[in-house]
Symmetry: C2
DNA sequence: CTGAAAGCGCTAACAA
DNA sequence: TTGTTAGCGCTTTCAG
C-alpha cells in the first residue's frame, strides 16, 4: 500500500499532471483525457492527498467544536447536531476539549495555525482575554453562549430569563411558595445568567420566599451536597429549582435520602431536559433550552460565515420550553409541555429571535 | 489579521527561512539567531501553518475516532477517554460519524486521503468488506470490537462471555430461575456476542428456564417494546437480562407500566454500567465492560503503532465487572461490585488479557 | 484543450 | 552554524 500521487496517475494516463488534475476535478478537459485519467486513477487506486489539497486550496475542510466538558449530555447533544450539519456539508469535525490541558483562550489562539476553517466554541467563562482572542482570530468562530453587547460575533444563545420564568411561574401555579435555587458556579456564563434569570423571575411573585445556594459545579455529586445543606436548614423549602438536570438529580437523591417524597414534600426542577430527565422517577420537570437546535444553528451560522466572510454578525436566541413531569406536580397529572410548543428532538422549530448587527 | 509566514519572520530577523525554521523548532542554531527569530516571530505574531507542516513532515498530528452512534453514553465515555490520551500526546481528535452518510467501510477507505495519522474504529458490524478495507488501509486502525481470528490488527475488546456469566450467576444466586434475555439486533457485533455469551452462561445452570427476544436496536424505546411483548406471554419470567443499559431501562418502564415491582416481581439487569444505571430507581444492576479503559487502551495501542509501525498486532481484552444495584436483589442489600474489583472511572486497572500476534 | 511552470508554507539535505 | 536549494502533492495561471 504505497502512496500513489497524481504524478503517477498522469504518467500512467500519458498526460500532464495539470490535465490529470483538471480531469479529476471536473474541470474543462476532453472526453478522452477524462477517460484515460479516470482509468489510470482507478487502476492505481489513486486518492488525492487531503493535506496537499488543503495547502494549495487554502482551506482544510475541517471545522472544530470546542467544549470544556464533553460528557455532559447537553454538550453531546449539541455535538451530534453539529456533526450532522457539518458532515452533510462535506466538512470533517474536530473535537477540542478545553477543559484539561488548554483553556478556551489557548484554543482560539491556536486557530492561527490554520488547521480548521472555522470553530464553534462553547466557553464556560467569557473573559476579556477570550474576547480579545476572538476578535483577533483569523478564522471564524461562532460562540455558543451570551456575549457582551457590541461583540461583533456570530452567537447562538439560550434564553435563561424566559427559562427561569417558565419554571418559577409553573411552581407558583402548582402552589409552591418557598423556593430554593441551587445554582452552579456563578463565575461561569450559565451560572451568572441563571442567577440573574431567577432573580428576575421571582420579582413577579413578591410573596415568594426564596434562597440561593451555589453548588461546586454542574454535577450530580455537587447538587447532592448543596441540597443536603439546604435541607438541613430550619425551614424546608417546598421546591428546589436546580440550574441543570445533573444538579436536579443530585437534589432528588438528597431529598430521598432524607425521607422526603417528591413531589409531595418537595418539588424539584431541572434545566436542559436531557435524556436523564425522562429516565429518573418521578420524571424530572425541566426546561428544554434547545441544545440540539442551538448546535444546528451554530453550525449553520458558521457555514454561512465561511461562505460569506464579510456578512453581518448574527445573534440567534433559541426559545426555551418547559417540559413538565412528575417531579413538580401536586397531583399526578401526566407530563406536558408549556409554550412554545417544541418536542424533544423536533427538527422543525423556528428561531426565537434573530438579530443581525455590525 | 493577515497570515504571516516564516518568510516574513526570516526577513524581519535578517536570516534565511531555513535558519528561522531551525530556530523555531529547537534545532541547532546560534543563540543570537534564536533570539532574533523569536523576537521577530513575537513581533509579527507568527504561528506556523499546520497544513504546510503536515505536508512537509508527512503527518497530520490528527487521529480519528469513528463510531456509528455518538449519543449512546458508552461511546461518549470511550470518546472522552480517547480524547484525553490523544490530546496529551499532542494530537487533535477528529470525530467521524459512520451512521448516517457513510459506512465504516467508506470511512476506512477515506483514510487513503491521509487526513489523519491513525484511526480508532468502533464498527457496529464487521463484514468481509470492512476487513478487506482494513487490511489495505495505509493508515493504522485500532478496532474496538471482536475481529475474526487471524486478522492482524490491533484490537481492544470487551469480554461478553464473562459478562453474561457474571450476570446469570448473580441472578441464579439471587434465586431467579426463569430468565428472559432481551438482546439487540444479532447481526451487530455486540448483539452476536451477547447472544452467544448468554447461551454459554446458561449451560452451567441446566435447571433454568430461558427465552430470548431481539429488540429492534439498542435503545430505550426498543427495549420497552420488546419487554412488553415478553411480559404479555403466559409465563412471566422472574428476571430480564438486557443487552445494554438502554434496553434495560426500557424494560424497567415496561414492567412498571404493567404494575410489576422491581426487583420483587421481576429482576432487571443491564450492560455497560453507564451513568444511567446509577440514576434510575431502583438502581440498575449492570456489567461494566470498561468503556473508559477500552477507549484509553485503544488510543495507547494506536500511538504505539504509529511510533513503531512494524510491531506485532496486539489484542487486549478488558475484564468486565458486575455492579450490583437494587434492580436484581431479593432483599434490600446495598450496591456492591463483584470480581474483578474495578471502580467506575478507576484509571488504574490492569488489562484482562493481552496477547501479541502476527 | 493541453502542458510547462509556479507556488501554497514549510522542513531538510547539502554545501559553504 | 548558516544559506541555498529542493521538494512534500496538489491546483492554477499562462502560453501554446
Amino acid at each position: 500500500m504505497v502512496r500513489v500521487t497524481i504524478t503517477q496517475v498522469a504518467a500512467h494516463a500519458g498526460v500532464s499532471v495539470a490535465s490529470a488534475s483538471r480531469a479529476l476535478n471536473g474541470q474543462i478537459a476532453s472526453a478522452e483525457t477524462i477517460a484515460k485519467v479516470r482509468h489510470a486513477a482507478a487502476v492505481l487506486g489513486y486518492v488525492a492527498d487531503a493535506t496537499a489539497q488543503s495547502l494549495q486550496r487554502g482551506r482544510t475542510n475541517q471545522l472544530a467544536y470546542a467544549v470544556a466538558d464533553i460528557g455532559n449530555p447537553v454538550y453531546v447533544e449539541m455535538m451530534s447536531a453539529i456533526e450532522r450539519v457539518v458532515s452533510a456539508s462535506g466538512y470533517r469535525l474536530l473535537l477540542s476539549s478545553t477543559g484539561t490541558t488548554s483553556s478556551s483562550v489557548d484554543v482560539v489562539r491556536d486557530l492561527g495555525r490554520g488547521y480548521v476553517d472555522g470553530m464553534i466554541l462553547s466557553p464556560l467563562r467569557i473573559t476579556d482575554e477570550l474576547l480579545t482572542a476572538l476578535a483577533q482570530s483569523p478564522t471564524p468562530v461562532v460562540v455558543l453562549g451570551r456575549l457582551p453587547d457590541g461583540a461583533r460575533l456570530d452567537t447562538v444563545r439560550a434564553d435563561s430569563f424566559t427559562a427561569m420564568r417558565l419554571i418559577v411561574d409553573h411552581l407558583v401555579t402548582e402552589g409552591r411558595r418557598d423556593i430554593a435555587f441551587v445554582n452552579g458556579p456563578t463565575d461561569t456564563t450559565p451560572g451568572a445568567f441563571r442567577r440573574d434569570g431567577f432573580a428576575a423571575a421571582v420579582t413577579s411573585h413578591p410573596y415568594l420566599s426564596t434562597r440561593t445556594v451555589d453548588a461546586q459545579d454542574f454535577t450530580i455529586a455537587a447538587g447532592y451536597t448543596a441540597v443536603r445543606q439546604v435541607l438541613a436548614g430550619d425551614q424546608r423549602p417546598d421546591a428546589v429549582v436546580a440550574a441543570n438536570d445533573l444538579i436536579a438529580i443530585g437534589a432528588i437523591r438528597a431529598a430521598e435520602d432524607l425521607g422526603l417524597t417528591i413531589p409531595r414534600d418537595i418539588a424539584v426542577t431541572g434545566i436542559d431536559n436531557t435524556e436523564l430527565a425522562g429516565v429518573v422517577r418521578p420524571g424530572l420537570t425541566s426546561v428544554d433550552l434547545g441544545a440540539e437546535e442551538r448546535g444546528r444553528v451554530a453550525a449553520e451560522l458558521l457555514l454561512a460565515r465561511i461562505a460569506e466572510p464579510s456578512r453581518a454578525a448574527h445573534t440567534v436566541t433559541v426559545a426555551p420550553s418547559l417540559v413538565v413531569r412528575g417531579s413538580s406536580l401536586v397531583a399526578g397529572h401526566g407530563p406536558k409541555r408549556v409554550a412554545p410548543a417544541l418536542e424533544h428532538g423536533d427538527e422543525a422549530t423556528a428561531f426565537g429571535t434573530e438579530e443581525a448587527a455590525g
